[in-house]
Symmetry: none
Subunit: 229 residues, 2 copies
């Protein structure tokens, strides 16, 4: 996850293209410069450019036609509620963390009030997989699963939906500066203990303890990323 230059390149290319469109004064229906011109002016390979164009096309911002060119689409997906991928470009890591701190402790509280026995079992399984992760990539996927298990334990489809939206943005936001000292989490990784405390509070049906445990956990994550503030 730390070495994905292609994905970073693609996101940067997407951003660069958006700048071209907005700063170039292109309006819907206008034809953009050809691919061969763009790779020259933007200084990227055609492969990277095409990936970015694919993404913009999929988001509905442009349309392309062989032999004709690439055109700015009519305003559709780009206005209104904003697509998740666009949102990802706008959200700062701090905003993301604040949003998590706003939603997830309250969800942990709801989980403590509403979790079924099955949901608790799933939480335990997810917690265990986090501990057993062999790489940071795997850990992060399992961490996601743990948090989602909390959202599922709320037994509230709307909260689950909001969590998933939040989580998608979270995954799309670039965390470029995270430096890892090891291949995988240490056995005494802070989050393991914090997961345990969240789990214990939910299992004990203690809403305020669950709320506090999740808040502490996310506070630790936040402090690790940003330093205390």
């Amino acid at each position: 996850m730390l070495t994905r230059p292609d994905q970073t390149d693609r996101d940067e290319a997407i951003a660069a293209l958006r700048v071209v469109i907005s700063d170039g004064g292109y309006v819907p229906g206008d034809r953009l410069p050809s691919e061969r011109e763009l790779i020259g002016s933007l200084g990227m390979t055609r492969n990277t450019l095409r990936k970015a164009l694919d993404a913009l096309e999929r988001d509905g911002e442009i349309w392309r036609h062989v032999g004709k060119g690439t055109f700015v689409a009519a305003h559709g997906a780009s206005t209104g509620s904003g697509s998740l991928s666009q949102l990802s470009q706008q959200v700062t890591p701090v905003q993301l963390m604040r949003a998590r701190l706003s939603l997830e402790p309250a969800m942990a509280r709801e989980a403590a009030l509403n979790a079924s026995d099955k949901a608790v079992i799933r939480l335990k399984q997810a917690r265990q997989k986090c501990r057993e992760s062999a790489t940071w990539d795997e850990y992060e996927a399992q961490d996601d699963s743990f948090h989602r298990a909390v959202a599922e334990a709320t037994d509230n489809v709307l909260l689950l939906s909001l969590f998933d939206q939040l989580n998608q943005v979270r995954r799309a936001v670039a965390w470029n500066n995270v430096v890892r000292k090891s291949k995988r989490p240490d056995p005494d990784h802070t989050s393991f203990k914090e997961h345990d405390e969240i789990l214990a509070a939910i299992e004990a049906r203690n809403p305020s303890a669950a709320h506090a445990a999740m808040r502490t956990h996310l506070g630790s994550v936040s402090a690790r990323l940003f330093g205390d503030y």
Copy 2:
């Protein structure tokens, strides 16, 4: 514009991959078959497959690593978030209220921390319009505006987006049993005072008071709808 076979191929490939993931019983962290296997079993070119994988990766459903393979990410958009209209059918009024109680007090707290002077002015205007509403319909629209002004005051695009999703579901959920005794809210309608208290706490930059005031307000709304519980 009418002939985009390549885009159709890509969308079909995306759908096919999602079927592979869900029907194949893959859970987060699981490794998918290699690209060369998938092009064989799905009967598509590698180019098409890679475009689809690019899209799934960008949507956060999978992650890929050279030499390792392609892995299912934590639950993506396809499983949790359904469309808003589907969600509106599934959400119970109680779940909706619990979701509001989970998110909006925390947003009020963020608003108290982050509101600009302009945002406070907009809050005041929205509060005033609530008081001046001539019908319940108008009151509810202005009430919406007041709550959205709180979300805007958080200065966090992600929280605003989550609020908007929540609010769309809220507007779509049928509140069929609400009986009104009057044409419009009484001048001593509880929510007027509660709006005032939310506004005052945000203006005073008092996060815990804002959190408590919003929680009280939504608690009143909830009690009115469901009785105390």
